[in-house]
């Protein structure tokens, strides 16, 4: 696979390590009354869609950016890539 890095262009997937569901960006509020249940979902539950999936990739043998890659799990087509930092900031 080739991943279009927003800063570095097309890079081979071998340069990256994979983490999974980009929902890991949405760390629950630790001060909320139901924090434990929310963290349980956050840590243990993942969607596993056949189709479009937003996921986290780490450019470990590159610039060490965390990326949010939108990939179709059926075709491996990559439709969108963003720096995770940008996504996280926007989420604020």
């Amino acid at each position: 696979m080739l991943i279009p890095h927003p800063l570095l262009g097309l890079r081979d997937a071998q340069e990256f390590t994979y983490l999974g569901d980009a929902n890991l960006l949405n760390r629950p509020d630790p001060t909320a009354p139901d924090a434990e249940a929310a963290f349980c979902d956050y840590v243990f539950l993942r969607d596993n869609p056949a189709g479009k999936h937003r996921e986290l990739w780490f450019h470990e043998q590159g610039d060490r950016s965390w990326l949010v890659v939108t990939r179709d799990t059926l075709t491996h087509e990559i439709s969108d890539v963003e720096l995770a930092t940008d996504v996280a900031r926007r989420g604020k």
Binding site: L2, L25, E36, L56, T75, L83, A88, R89
Partner: protein, 981 residues
């Protein structure tokens, strides 16, 4: 000899080779198969299940029968297809799959037992009794299974790996592929053209014929001249593109030197990873056969292969070149072989054509509306039975060519699960519009198989590819070529009482397919697994479509209703060695060397692998004959005076920025925000699930500058997770991270005399206990101005420091410290003594931090701050973790001569040794020269409340059972006075 005139062989260069120990001669340009045929050798192997005599069936990589063991010794390679092995001087090959000689195979008895060996035989026969599964059936099946034998020796050859990034990859160098490459290259595209054959040209090499009023071979030569003169073209013969992967990435194997007698000092094969913007699949087509009774006799082969042998290699397929050759066909292409043979002066018995209105294209007899219904001949064809309108006659025949039509090689087009579609006119599967993105298909690979069609398709498809690349094509005329006759009528097999083979390599007959149908194994996936059809090394290239047709007929369905076969990589077998690309032995993975590697080697240190690092395990001295002697000496030196250990491999992460303190406060489970400048604090990191995953130190060197250390094993993952926290969780914090593990050489200088030794290298820094207390840190200089960082931390429990200098000074510093410390008996120590010292002190490492450990288990539960949020803090409080009662404690054997063994399980005295009574386990153990016996650390239920108790450390695997006493994990200085001295 059955050699005739012509051919693409060099008759001036004779080559000697052996087959089953007999010497033969061939010519340069021969394959092993063509050379064997030229020597009248028809019988080349035995079939897999029934051990039937088999001959060469094809002239290409689809070969199901002619599998041989090539080479000798460590270079022996089983299952090599004789049809693609290029002949070289001294080649040595052996037939396989027989017991005794090839001619008198003792296992041929299997053939007589064939009624019992039909489809699903294994599933039906080896069901009962159950106790026979492992002891009786499996050894028998394993012995009979598999083709060929392995040398069992390491692979002596070398392999390479390469990467290509062309605009256009053309797969296949036949008429369509060459024309496509030429069209694209002339327009300026970067082109790679790869073909599995030893020379480019595809079927044109086998067919003769004319292009642009000249022999087709002249045209091929012309095109190759032009292509090789262009700098934007890479011609790759002997290169099989075996798989289509994501985003235009293809795997290919180039056979660099295995066709040479001595390898020429080159690698054997190269694994190419080709990333192409556009790809044209011009992989041609493979001929299929028509099953009839006893159709597997040596001397029977594909009609197209017969033509290849005659035209390209100048050999005829009979043992005796006066014996007449016949053709059995349902299409016009079969007649083309008859015409070629007539033209070459080979006696032709005639063409047996299943079509009612068939007629001859030349000077030979045509048996229209007729079929071949049997064959005779011991170990080689001598006669065939031709049946017309119910009347049969036996005719003398030395070789039979069979043609059932051509199947496009759609394999790579369907590697992304795109299934081909049935074309009723051409009676074949052609690729649909579902090829991998960026792949276009040209020529016979999409059913456009005549020379004229293939050339035109090459231009047309290349123009489409150029358009996608945004390159303007240069206009040029399509070469003029003939349109070969190719009419075909559906005729899939000759019904017979006797067995008619569909899949030769796995011995699957029409009867087997009938049986599968009868037993309701009708979906094509079930058919395949029940009969093993298409599951051999040839992956059913010559049999899959025919089998589908037979199943369709039996189930009264159309072929597309019955199913299609889906193809997966690799297209042809790929050796494991080339996929490794030479990364074997010492090259399997890179080694990281410590800064004191040179010093350690000069001392004759014994090394150990720690992750990727090669670390000194211990430093044997003269007279020491056992590792324990060295390790005990090193450990005692630290406890009594001073030792030096290279601890560079511990991960180091520089954390800087206005919010560095806040960031670390959130990353560590314990309070880190209160750490003062110039001080170090021990820290625990949790995963978000609340479990402990790493420990280390955090040193605050400046207001906004911290240095974090990690365990050696987790250096990478801690850095990755800290980057995750920084970028993904708290992107607004002003903090940056960089790994400095390789930048700083770091040394533990430990022991009561460590301060005394260290003072000899410090420039002007006061390191007295008052000025530089336990857990202090500072940036300083040593040895007259060398940048350094000093930390007063201790892993051994002794008064100790860690000193870091830029990595390139590490080796020199080690040597200087030892020189300056001679009077103090300054001793280098390795990882083994390091381990002994930390077990004596009760410090945990990876053995204790297993990923299942909580902070409470190592007695540090109180460190996890309840006052703040940090990674894992919420989940660490959940019931299951908070109630964990295992605690890390120490163990001493009651009998000091007995060892404590890592991995032993702890059982209360008198209890049976089983899981139910398990009380915990030993995590680390060592011989402690300090204690004078073996000691251990381990997790014990409520261990912190059981000091002094006797318990059993059981090791049922080795039949060991040792009584031990529960003691504090701190065998040395439990109050921690020494390190604060």
């Amino acid at each position: 000899m059955t050699r005739i005139q012509g051919g693409l062989i060099n008759r001036d260069k004779k080559l000697n080779f052996t087959f089953n120990g007999t010497s033969y001669q061939g010519f340069e340009g021969d394959t092993l198969a063509s050379a064997l045929l030229a020597n009248g050798v028809q019988l080349v192997g035995r079939s897999f299940k029934y051990h039937r005599p088999r001959g060469i069936y094809t002239a290409g990589s689809e070969e199901p029968n002619a599998l041989v063991e090539l080479g000798t010794g460590a270079r022996l390679e089983p299952n090599t297809r004789a049809t693609v092995v290029e002949l070289f001087e001294g080649l040595s090959a052996k037939s396989q799959n027989h017991m005794g000689s090839l001619e008198r195979d003792l296992l041929a008895v299997n053939d007589l037992m064939s009624p019992f060996l039909a489809a699903g035989f294994y599933y039906k026969t080896f069901m009962w009794p159950r106790v026979f599964w492992e002891k009786v059936y499996e050894p028998i099946i394993r012995k009979a299974a598999g083709l060929g034998s392995l040398s069992m020796l390491p692979d002596p050859d070398s392999y390479d790996r390469g990467f290509l990034h062309p605009d256009l990859l053309v797969i296949g160098g036949g008429a369509a592929g060459l024309m496509a490459a030429l069209t694209a290259a002339r327009a300026g595209a970067e082109v790679v053209i790869a073909d599995e054959d030893s020379r480019l040209g595809g079927r044109l090499l086998s067919e003769g014929g004319m292009i642009d009023d000249a022999p087709a071979l002249d045209w091929v030569a012309c095109v190759l001249d032009e292509l090789s003169s262009m700098t934007n073209v890479k011609l790759m013969a002997r290169t099989t593109v075996f798989g289509a992967y994501d985003h235009g990435i293809f795997g290919a194997v180039e056979r660099v030197s295995e066709h040479l007698a001595d390898g020429g000092g080159k690698v054997r094969q190269t694994y190419w990873r080709i990333t192409a913007k556009q790809t044209i699949l011009a992989s041609g087509a493979t001929e299929r056969h028509i099953p009839f009774a006893d159709n597997d006799r040596p001397g029977i082969m594909m009609a197209g292969a017969m033509r290849s042998y005659a035209n390209r290699w100048a050999v005829t397929p009979q043992r005796d070149n006066k014996a007449p050759v016949a053709i059995f066909t349902n299409n016009d292409d079969g007649h083309r072989t008859a015409m070629t043979l007539v033209e070459k002066g080979v006696p032709v018995l005639g063409v047996v054509d299943a079509r009612a209105n068939a007629s001859s294209f030349g000077e030979y007899e045509t048996f229209a509306n007729a079929t071949v219904t049997g064959s005779h001949g011991r170990k080689g064809l001598s006669s065939i039975e031709v049946t017309r309108k119910g009347s049969a006659q036996w005719l003398e025949c030395g070789a039979l060519g069979v043609s059932g039509g051509w199947n496009p090689n759609v394999h790579l087009a369907s590697h992304h699960r795109g299934r081909p579609v049935w074309n009723e006119d051409k009676l074949t599967f052609v690729p649909d519009n579902n090829a991998p993105k960026g792949m276009l298909i040209a020529g016979a690979a999409r059913g456009n198989g005549s020379t004229r069609e293939a050339l035109a398709d090459g231009v047309l498809i290349a123009k489409q590819a150029l358009m996608a690349l945004g390159i303007t094509p240069v206009s040029a005329a399509v070469p003029v070529a003939g349109e070969e006759a190719s009419a075909i009528e559906a005729f899939w097999h000759v019904p017979a009482k006797k067995r008619a083979w569909v899949d030769f390599q796995n011995d699957v007959t029409v009867k087997d397919i009938k049986l599968a149908h009868q037993e309701n194994m009708r979906p094509v996936e079930h058919l395949k697994r029940w009969t093993t059809l298409g599951m051999a090394t040839d992956q059913g290239k010559t049999s899959n479509v025919t089998a589908l047709a037979v199943m369709a007929e039996l189930s009264s369905q159309t072929i597309p209703e019955t199913g299609t076969t889906i193809f997966r990589p690799p297209y042809t077998p790929v050796s494991m060695g080339v996929l490794g690309g030479g990364d074997t032995g010492a090259n399997f993975r890179p080694h990281r060397l410590t800064p004191t590697d040179t010093f350690a080697k000069s001392q004759g240190a014994v090394f150990t692998e720690v992750g990727q690092w090669m670390r000194a395990q211990y430093f044997p001295q003269e007279g020491e004959t056992h590792w324990r002697q060295s390790v005990d000496r090193e450990a005692l030196a630290v406890r009594s005076s001073v030792g030096i250990c290279d601890v560079t491999t511990l991960g180091k992460i520089d954390v800087q920025g206005k919010d560095a303190g806040e960031f670390l406060h959130r990353v560590y489970a314990n309070m880190m925000g209160t750490l003062k400048e110039g001080m170090v604090r021990y820290g625990l990191m949790l995963r978000e699930d609340g479990k402990l995953y790493d420990d280390g130190t955090c040193a605050r060197l400046g207001e906004n500058h911290y240095v974090v250390t990690t365990t050696t094993a987790n250096a990478g993952i801690v850095f990755q997770r800290m980057e995750f926290a920084r970028q993904c969780l708290w992107p607004d914090l002003d903090v940056t991270l960089i790994s400095t593990t390789d930048a700083w050489a770091q040394f533990a200088i430990a022991g009561p005399n460590s301060r005394k030794l260290l003072e000899r290298v410090m420039d002007d820094m006061d390191i007295s206990n008052e000025a530089f207390p336990f857990m202090a840190c500072r940036a300083t200089t040593v040895c007259g101005g060398l940048r350094a960082r000093l930390f007063r931390i201790s892993f051994s429990g002794e008064l100790a420091f860690e000193l870091a200098v830029p990595a390139r000074y590490g080796n020199a510093l080690m040597e200087r410290l030892l020189n300056l410390g001679k009077d103090l008996n300054a001793t280098p120590y390795g990882t083994e003594a390091l381990g002994v010292l930390r077990i004596e002190k009760g410090h945990s490492t990876g053995n204790e931090l297993t990923g299942q450990t909580t902070a409470a288990m190592i007695g540090l539960g109180k460190m996890v701050s309840a006052k703040k949020d940090s990674i894992g803090s919420i989940m660490s409080r959940r019931e299951g973790l908070a109630n964990e009662t295992l605690r890390l404690v120490g163990f001493e054997p009651i009998d000091s001569n007995q060892p404590v063994v890592t991995g032993s399980h702890l059982i209360n005295l008198g209890d049976p040794v089983d899981l139910e009574h398990d009380q915990g386990w030993i995590t680390s153990a060592a011989y402690s020269p300090h204690v004078g016996s073996s000691i251990g650390l381990g997790y014990l239920q409520n261990g912190d409340q059981r000091m002094g108790e006797e318990i059993v450390a059981a090791n049922p695997l080795e039949g060991q059972s040792v009584r031990v006493r529960v003691v504090s994990a701190h065998f040395v200085d439990p109050k921690g006075e020494r390190l604060r001295d």
